[in-house]
């Protein structure tokens, strides 16, 4: 596609429920990244994919968070048993090799 797309754009869920966030990277981009941005703060790295494998998962805050990527394309970030502190904007980025990262519009997650 022309840019990185994410869905849904907004998600409101109840504490304890599971959520899935989707990212479609720019076509041909081999690297894909997930970040989280809490209100009024900078972005925090969560996980990085090269192809379909994740060599760096060091930013995932707990074992409730997981992500996968298939077909060297779409990625899904799953948060199980959501907590209120998970409320944030989740941003996905992709890059061609080691170059510039391009960001999607984000998914705003609100956990009630």
């Amino acid at each position: 596609g022309a840019g990185v797309s994410q869905s849904p754009s907004n998600k409101v869920t109840e504490k304890g429920k599971d959520v899935e966030l989707r990212c479609d990277p720019i076509s041909g981009h081999t690297a894909l990244y997930w970040y989280r941005q809490r209100l009024g703060q900078g972005l925090e790295f969560l996980i990085y994919f090269q192809g379909n494998s994740a060599p760096d998962k060091s930013g995932l805050p707990s074992d409730r968070f997981s992500a996968e990527r298939t077909g060297e394309s779409v990625s899904t970030l799953t948060i199980q048993r959501t907590q209120q502190e998970d409320s944030a904007v989740y941003l996905c980025a992709s890059s061609l090799g080691t170059g510039m990262q391009f960001f999607g519009p984000g998914t705003r997650l609100t956990v009630l």
Partner: protein, 108 residues
């Protein structure tokens, strides 16, 4: 981990004024980038500038990698320049570490 310090944290300008935003890194980074986050939250790429100087219209950026800092210049500011400006770099791994941003407000 690496620290990324941005200054100033907040900036208010009158339309037409010039400004300089600074980003300091506590250690060497690769793939330094500047972004503008607009009021709708979208991160817009401004510069990919591991070293040297680049210009794009009213914006320019300079990175001095040996001294671990980068500068973003905004000239003849416009109200559409308002938002948050972030710098970010890769500290030896394939993940950007972001500063906390400079929040810019340009008043008409």
């Amino acid at each position: 981990g690496i620290q990324v310090e941005q200054s100033p944290p907040d900036l208010i300008l009158q339309e037409g004024a010039n400004s300089t935003l600074r980003c300091n890194f506590s250690d060497s980074v690769n793939n330094l980038q500047w972004f503008h986050q607009n009021p709708w939250g979208q991160l817009i790429n401004l510069f990919y500038i591991p070293s040297g100087t680049k210009q794009n219209g009213r914006l320019s950026a300079t990175t001095v990698a040996t001294e671990r800092y980068s500068l973003l210049y905004i000239s003849s500011s416009q109200t559409t320049d308002s938002g948050v400006y972030f710098c970010a770099g890769e500290p030896g791994r394939r993940a950007l570490t972001f500063g906390s941003g400079t929040r810019l407000q340009v008043q008409p």
